[in-house]
Symmetry: D2
Subunit: 375 residues, 4 copies
């Protein structure tokens, strides 16, 4: 694995490195960790890489790695830069024969996403998007229960992703994460909706098995002077007749990373909270409420396969993130062995496009006075 972005002081780069390392299948062999060549090399050395594999730019990395022996060179690139810096390195990596795993949202805007899809299809390479919340065992159990019809036809879904860290104008301090996320030139058309709303959208479509078909959104910038939305609420209608509500906010002062979802059908429903990820609460019309737990038997195989350790030993965010990497690594290995399958359980370019469409439409609806728009 070669990493693009994720130098000293970054948050998500470290997460990707731990997730990649966890299962002893992936090794970090090189990186272009910063737009500053000096910082990139500094970061790489701090991470224990040999200096000749610490590159000053992603262009240099891709070019030089291409020239190494197949045994030595990186197998794929992991892109963990701000949103406006996803497309160029993804394009160049793919065009030079490297698979790509990329942070979300997939690109800066929808056009780039469509363009990227064309490149992936042309190059016939593997592309994964780290919508990591789909990696949790109980999320996979939830998806499987709904897909299997355990609750009958799905009627209503509510997904909320609340954070509080942008309740003040943090971007005016020296906080790197806040700075780029609230900057339209680096983040894209949406703030909170792009950063975490897309996670909520992805989780909802993943679990429910339905796509959002129209929406009505009300976005706000509560913090004075902020350039992008820091809060939004959206009414949803979905492809199989369900209705929904999606809320994403980064100004819920005191909230940590409160992503939760409930989906209900004719016979029952389920609730899952990211901050209590090893429990899936299941309710039924006629039976006592149940709590499914990571690793406990009598679950769908997808859920059991996503757990690493016996029940009762809590698995968390990094393990879920690592499940994306693990499945991606499986695909990369299958590719090498000419055994690539049609489907893998990681988010791909189509999920990326869904996310970009969602951002576009959510902003569009709100700007037009919170009217209904079709997706």
């Amino acid at each position: 694995m070669g990493m693009i972005g994720g130098g000293i002081g970054a948050f998500i780069g470290g997460v990707h490195r731990i997730a990649a390392a966890m299962d002893n299948q992936i090794e970090l062999v090189c990186g272009a960790f910063s737009s500053s060549a000096e910082k990139s090399i500094q970061s790489g050395i701090a991470l224990g890489l040999p200096q000749n594999r610490c590159y000053g730019s992603f262009e240099e990395m891709i070019q030089k790695e291409s020239q190494l022996d197949e045994d030595e060179r990186m197998d794929f690139v992991a892109i963990v830069t701000p949103n406006h810096m996803h497309f160029a390195p993804a394009k160049m990596a793919l065009e030079n024969g490297f698979h790509v795993i990329c942070d979300k949202p997939v690109t800066f805007n929808l056009d780039e996403a469509y363009e990227l899809k064309k490149i992936i299809e042309k190059q016939k390479l593997i592309f994964a998007l780290t919508h990591n919340y789909t990696g949790y065992p109980m999320v996979k159990q939830a998806k499987a229960m709904i897909a299997n019809g355990d609750f009958g036809k799905i009627r209503k879904a509510i997904v909320e992703y609340s954070q509080g860290w942008l309740a003040t104008k943090l971007e005016d301090t020296n906080q790197k994460q806040a700075a780029w996320r609230s900057d339209p030139k680096r983040s894209g058309a949406a703030g909170a909706m792009g950063d975490i709303g897309t996670h909520a959208e992805n989780l909802l479509e993943y679990i429910s098995g339905q796509q959002i078909t129209s929406l009505c959104s009300d976005l706000t910038s509560f913090v004075e002077g902020r350039l992008l939305d820091d809060d939004g609420s959206v009414l949803l209608r979905m492809s199989e007749g369900a209705k929904g509500v999606l809320i994403a906010s980064q100004i819920m002062a005191g909230e940590e990373n409160n992503l939760k979802i409930k989906v209900f059908g004719e016979k029952g429903g389920l609730e899952w909270q990211q901050m209590k990820p090893n429990s899936l609460v299941v309710k039924w019309l006629d039976q006592p409420q149940q709590e499914y737990r990571t690793g406990v038997g009598n679950q769908y195989p997808q859920a059991l396969a996503a757990a690493r350790i016996p029940a009762g030993h809590p698995e968390g965010y990094l393990e879920a993130f690592a499940n994306i990497y693990k499945e991606f690594a499986t695909a990369v290995t299958d590719f090498k062995n000419n055994e690539l399958k049609e489907n893998y359980d990681f988010p791909n370019i189509d999920d990326g496009i869904r996310g970009m469409v969602f951002i576009d439409k959510v902003v569009d609806s709100s700007e037009q006075g919170s009217i209904w728009v079709e997706l």
Copy 2:
């Protein structure tokens, strides 16, 4: 107290009777418990009333009680009939000099509510509406914290009231509660929104201290053949600049009576769940999350006054309901002593009108294609 409605087989009548009895201040002395004279008398006798105080109709009750000595006759009427039967008995009781405590929503439609207000003002009598969820100690703590500015300016509120008991077409069975609630002739313009949406609206305005100023709603009748909405989601804008989401549903199969609210401001926020009513979770930007608990010290006096027993002894729905009756009984006593104050902490006719406006506008918005409407 004389009761109108609430005969054998009714749910809410029993709740009112327990709530009224709890504090040894109110005695049930008579009733017109059913539209069938026979059933009314049967119910009254089963409740231990003397036969001459079990009336065949509310008209008879009000008329005959008026003629009794002041010491003997009822002080007020409690109206616990279906919605379409609120206005007439309330009007007649008031016009005959009796105070009224009435179940919600206040009337069948908005016109009746305005008319009722005029009568109350003319008669100068006491009218209380049993939006009982405002009776919980932790709800009073929540309201006081916000009113006192503990969280700074309020930005976002989410209120959800989910039930599952109407997930099937229960009104086609012999279920009395379902039958009238899903019948437009008895329930009014809205189903779930009138029955529980108004509770959510009332709780939100009570706690936040802000009024809903405009809304965009999406109502659905998920159960085939049902005549009124059984589910709805509403985007809200509020009088002091907050934005909100209100969800009310009776088709969340497996949900019991899941009313919960979160309100967040600049410095922190709070969450309360009716099914865990003795806890108020409070979050802060810079401090560990807190759990306020019924009856524990260091709270606002309104909260402490609403608790009956020491901390750790859970108080529930009936105690909260009884708090409405207790405050109403205090007002009735003050009235007798010519010491009526300007404000009491129970919902009144203005809250009733707010509820009816909410129903009207929620239905209006949805029928026009889920557009924004002003309140």
Copy 3:
């Protein structure tokens, strides 16, 4: 009902009055509310009683009430005095033909308890002890599941009752509750173990269906100068082979009224917490964990019968307490109608004796150096 004790400033008297009033079956008609005649009458008048039914002493009350017409006089007495004042009024009431409902522990010492049993048997009257925690619907469900063998043979039980209100020397302030509870002359041989340990013991034997047969206890007075134990831990062996642990403490600073129990058998087990009384968590070897909830269907009839309102409307301490009164009132009515049954679901004199034996043995074991003693 005539009340003995429970005047102004008392805690448990008010609880008894609310519990008795709740179901509209019992009316407070007289009382001897204090050992001071003046305070007794003051309290009675504040409670709305006519002055001639406010007595200066329990002796006066029992004597004078005996002389009233059967229709007018009290049916039974409720004894809510400190422990050392249970026996005398209970004895006199029974000997004058009145049923008795009495707070726990039943008497000041074991001899009194045995004596009281003789009187009850001779008089053939009804005696109930308010071990109120057995009144919760989910406690009844727990008992029924175990009795029915749902978990197989029971192996292990843990019961803990933690409070923090005596973490400081509250008895040195003017706190009435603390004063008598920590005074060996009014409380008896044990402090925390008598006050709340007996509740834990009663709950454990009620739910498990097994009796404690031997124990090893370690009692402590953590607060300097305190005369009775304020904390204790006890190892237990039980009649059907189960082993257990019982912990009771009033110096767990910050704990409210944290009574909880878990009981496990061969196939699964259950957990119940008094502060979340409407949930019963049930665990199974091979199935997802379940949460039984007050009032939800598919439960044992004893549990459903103990709920007053539909599921999701939390019932609390007062409702559970009222269930004891309700069952007692049923017995009193059955007695009047000469239809007394053999068993009622309220704690009786035998439970009271169990509690006094427990206190004796727990103190005995600890004083002898925490050795094992037989019950």
Copy 4:
């Protein structure tokens, strides 16, 4: 790192490998994964090791690795075999100059533990014991709060470690984990008490800062024919005057890995549950209950340093385990740089000896009829 034990089918070996890999500081370079040479090599190859570093026995591994260049050879061994196979490889590794990290309990019996301590001291090498539960951030916060006197003098502690997986005679099936754990020849003098009771003992002493000084234990083998205890309850007295209860059970059918602890002092107390590891509930005499959360500010530096990702992204068992490895790796690096400090925050041989003393005394007490014994 070279691993001893942990071949295909083992549980804890995989945990150690993930924990070691997580922070990109430690690389698995060789192993003797099984007592069968064939299986060992098979396992090593499956883990991606070159065949020449997959050894047939730990003796071979230690000997051959010793002869490799310093740059190439393993730095330390990780011992993840059953208990009876800890001492011999630890001794040989240390005597050949390798640091050791070892699973718990440290040895088969107390004599071995004392002997091991001598060797460690003589060799002046690093020895860590994976009592992993001390690696959780909230456990470190708990320890720091108590050490800092936040709760005043500590009075009472309760620690419970409940599992249900041995509720049936699993050792009679082909279950490897159950087989050795219930075999006195491989597990040692105790079953559940050795396997999980020692974790509870270690956690209690770590958090409370007090040592157990005497105990009275009641051990049971509930499953017929089982050779070692599968359940036990222990009364404790501690070095600074606290009293405690320790419960360890593997027959609580339906329990997963329910380790929880509460410790209370004069001013308040804390509760932590391993299955909700990112929350530390803190209670106070005079303030609302608090919930400290992993990674949220205003905590002790030890707690903050143990978190890898921002608040709200749950960290679990593997992260806590990895914290032990991380601190051990720091010590190993410091050793290389001749900068070894006096104290590191990982369990060491003294903790191991405490555990073995605990096992000895707990068994001793129970065998003598559950009497008090001194430690």
